[in-house]
């Protein structure tokens, strides 16, 4: 097993000011979009559920930002930020949540989206199975000798599933160019990590597969970016998979319908609110002269305009017609 220390400091990655501004934009766009989706849900515009990643945006954004052209990825339910960074437009995420005919015929729920041309594989509800699918994507790269990487995400809870184990072990046994981000937000629905497993650090799960397991502050977007980039580089060089545990906290309920105050200690909310990844990053960028209060205000305004337009577009997309339902069961025949 590589002798990676799971708490080794994240490698330093030099980011240009424009890149850091981009990161801030994605973080804020992610949050604003999810906030808007929550409003749309309340207005009855989203027929199903909504799963938000409030306070976890740095994980989606930081990791996605480390991907290169041609790399593939598969978000799970709290990774709308990943989709955004990889070029999935907010309007499509909205219309999908609304059950509209675009982008995918209204067939599946909000975050179950995939786009082959963007290398984005759709998650499904049953947890665990996506890991081996993304290992298979990585296998495709390896077989063809392409220096590309497949990256996916898992919650803390998902690590208990059998499919998850098989997938990680498969990727490790085959030394595949594969990166797994384990988002440890403390909870799986109402179940705290301590009921899921006896571990404190989920990164220790990596030890069962002989691959590096790294812990990172999931609320530090640049740290997430740096460790992901390192893992991606290792994978590209043929060094096999890495598991990254990003520590964070689920600041809302499991879904928008759920009130977490019933089972999550109140002080945790307070503590983690103070550790907000966007507040932290804004502060840092202001301190380091990358942006200003005014710059941020105009960024916010720009995002609202973008989302107004996106929403207008999404609301104009028609619902799918019943006659479409039986189409496309097969690709052929």
């Amino acid at each position: 097993m590589p002798s990676t220390d799971k708490r080794a400091p994240a490698p330093v990655v030099e980011l240009a000011s424009t890149q850091r501004q981009e990161l801030l934009y994605w973080l804020k766009l992610d949050r604003a979009l999810e906030t808007r989706l929550a409003n749309m849900l309340r207005q009855g515009k989203v027929p199903g559920g909504l799963y938000r990643g409030l306070g976890q945006e740095a994980i989606s954004v930081g990791s996605a930002y480390a991907l290169g052209p041609g790399d593939w990825f598969a978000p799970v339910i709290r990774n709308i930020g990943t989709c955004l960074v990889r070029g999935i437009e907010p309007r499509l995420i909205m219309s999908q949540h609304m059950g509209r005919s675009l982008p995918a015929g209204g067939r599946d729920t909000g975050t179950h989206l995939g786009f082959l041309d963007k290398g984005m594989v759709s998650t499904i509800s049953p947890l665990g199975g996506l890991v081996s699918v993304m290992a298979g994507v990585a296998l495709g790269f390896k077989m063809r000798g392409e220096r590309k990487v497949a990256l996916t995400y898992s919650g803390d809870g998902q690590t208990s599933t059998g499919s998850w184990h098989e997938g990680v072990n498969f990727a490790a046994a085959q030394t595949l160019p594969f990166v797994l981000i384990v988002e440890n937000n403390g909870w799986a629905y109402s179940t705290p990590v301590k009921r899921q497993t006896r571990l404190t650090d989920l990164a220790d799960r990596a030890r069962a597969y002989g691959i590096p397991g790294v812990v990172v502050d999931g609320n530090d977007v640049e740290a997430v970016h740096a460790v992901t980039r390192q893992a991606i580089e290792r994978a590209r060089e043929g060094g096999g998979p890495t598991m990254i545990e990003a520590k964070t906290f689920r600041r809302l309920g499991h879904s928008e319908h759920d009130d977490p105050r019933r089972y999550v200690p109140a002080e945790d909310f307070a503590r983690w609110e103070k550790n907000d990844p966007i507040d932290r990053y804004e502060k840092r960028l202001i301190e380091e002269g990358v942006t200003t209060r005014e710059g941020i205000a105009s960024l916010d305004a720009r995002i609202e305009v973008e989302l107004d337009q996106a929403q207008a577009w999404a609301e104009a997309v028609p619902l799918p017609g019943p006659e479409t339902l039986t189409r496309g069961i097969y690709a052929e025949g």
């Binding site: 027929p47 199903g48 059950g99 509209r100 005919s101 015929g105 209204g106 067939r107 599946d108 729920t109 179950h112 499904i124 509800s125 049953p126 947890l127 665990g128 809870g157 998902q158 208990s160 599933t161 059998g162 499919s163 799986a188 629905y189 109402s190 179940t191 009921r195 899921q196 497993t197 019933r262 089972y263 619902l319 799918p320 017609g321 019943p322 479409t324 339902l325 039986t326 069961i329």
Partner: protein
């Protein structure tokens, strides 16, 4: 007697069995503090404690496996699947390990696996399925699906007391939508017995679960048009109450098998085949199936509406059969 919902009836049935028999316990995801995704087990942790109300990791195969082990070792576990769709993750455990145990080496496995099934709530492809057809082919399992609050209580109690593994499918659409007077006292609804919900002479609808209500709705509508529809609620899907099915078939000679599950490979095929095999001489027309379309359960409301059977679609099928 108390007026209660389908959901409350399931709760009460489990509650009574847990009070009565300390071997009975619950395990599943988020069933303790949270009381389950649909609150079916709300209050159980407070009443029965952590030892008997166990929040598990997200591990359906282990939940089922552990339930079986505990059952072998003298307990009577009731395992919850948060949504019944996820029972797919325990498919090997149920169809190979659990189901074969008594037949293979004589050890009874008294356990229940229960969970919310069915569509109509815009849950999308993985929170809306009916899974009975996938388990119906396996010897050694029993499958029940109540349509009423009375049966919900009586069947969960029967399932818990049964010495065999019972899959108990509860329709999430019914949870809070139906209410009836349910006896406070101890009773069971026997496993393996269908209920005649409505007598009729012209056509029989063989169905179960939430579709019983759809069938009754159609039957009421058709009465006005002079068509007498008989409605058989199977209640137990495995073992099937063939006697009840064949009796109704012999009586009306025209049969519609109705289920919310997809058509192809649904249990309607088996029911149709049994009727044809054993009551062919009574048939005055083809056995007709009304079921969901052969697609995943779609998310978007107009699609889900088109996907699922409803009273209008059933009425149309009945009329065609009556005029056959």
């Amino acid at each position: 007697m108390a007026l209660m919902t389908y959901l409350e009836a399931i709760r009460q049935g489990m509650w009574e069995e847990m009070e009565k028999d300390e071997r009975v316990f619950l395990l599943g995801e988020d069933i303790g503090v949270y009381g389950g995704a649909f609150k079916v087990t709300a209050g159980f942790l407070e009443k029965f404690g952590e030892t008997r109300v166990i929040d598990t990791p997200i591990s359906e195969a282990a939940i089922v496996g552990a339930a079986m082990g505990a059952a072998l070792n003298g307990m009577r576990p009731v395992a919850e699947m948060q949504f019944i769709d996820f029972i797919a993750c325990a498919f090997d455990q149920l169809t190979h390990m659990v189901s074969s145990t008594h037949w293979r080496w004589g050890a009874p496995v008294p356990m229940v696996v229960r969970g919310p099934c069915g569509g109509g709530v815009h849950g999308g492809p993985f929170h809306s399925q009916n899974m009975e057809a996938y388990f119906f082919h396996t010897p050694g399992l029993k499958i029940v699906e109540p349509a009423t609050a009375y049966d919900a209580k009586g069947l969960i109690k029967a399932a818990i007391r049964d010495d065999d593994p019972v899959l108990y499918f509860e329709h999430k659409y019914l949870y809070r939508r139906i209410k009836e007077e349910v006896p406070d006292h101890d009773y069971v609804v026997p496993i393996g017995k269908a209920a005649l919900r409505r007598e009729g002479t012209d056509v029989s609808v063989i169905t179960y679960g939430s579709m019983v209500h759809t069938a009754l709705e159609s039957a009421t509508g058709l009465e006005a048009e002079g068509v007498q529809v008989e409605v058989v609620d199977l209640r137990t899907l495995l073992p099937l109450d063939e006697e009840a099915i064949l009796a109704s078939a012999a009586k009306t000679g025209k049969i519609v098998v109705l289920h919310e599950d997809r058509r192809r490979g649904g249990i309607g095929g088996e029911i149709s085949a049994i009727i044809t095999e054993k009551a062919f001489e009574y048939l005055d027309g083809p056995v007709v199936r009304v079921a969901s379309l052969d697609t995943p359960v779609p998310y978007s409301p107009p699609l889900e509406e088109a996907f699922m059977p409803n009273a209008a679609k059933l009425t149309k099928a009945i009329k065609e059969l009556v005029n056959y």
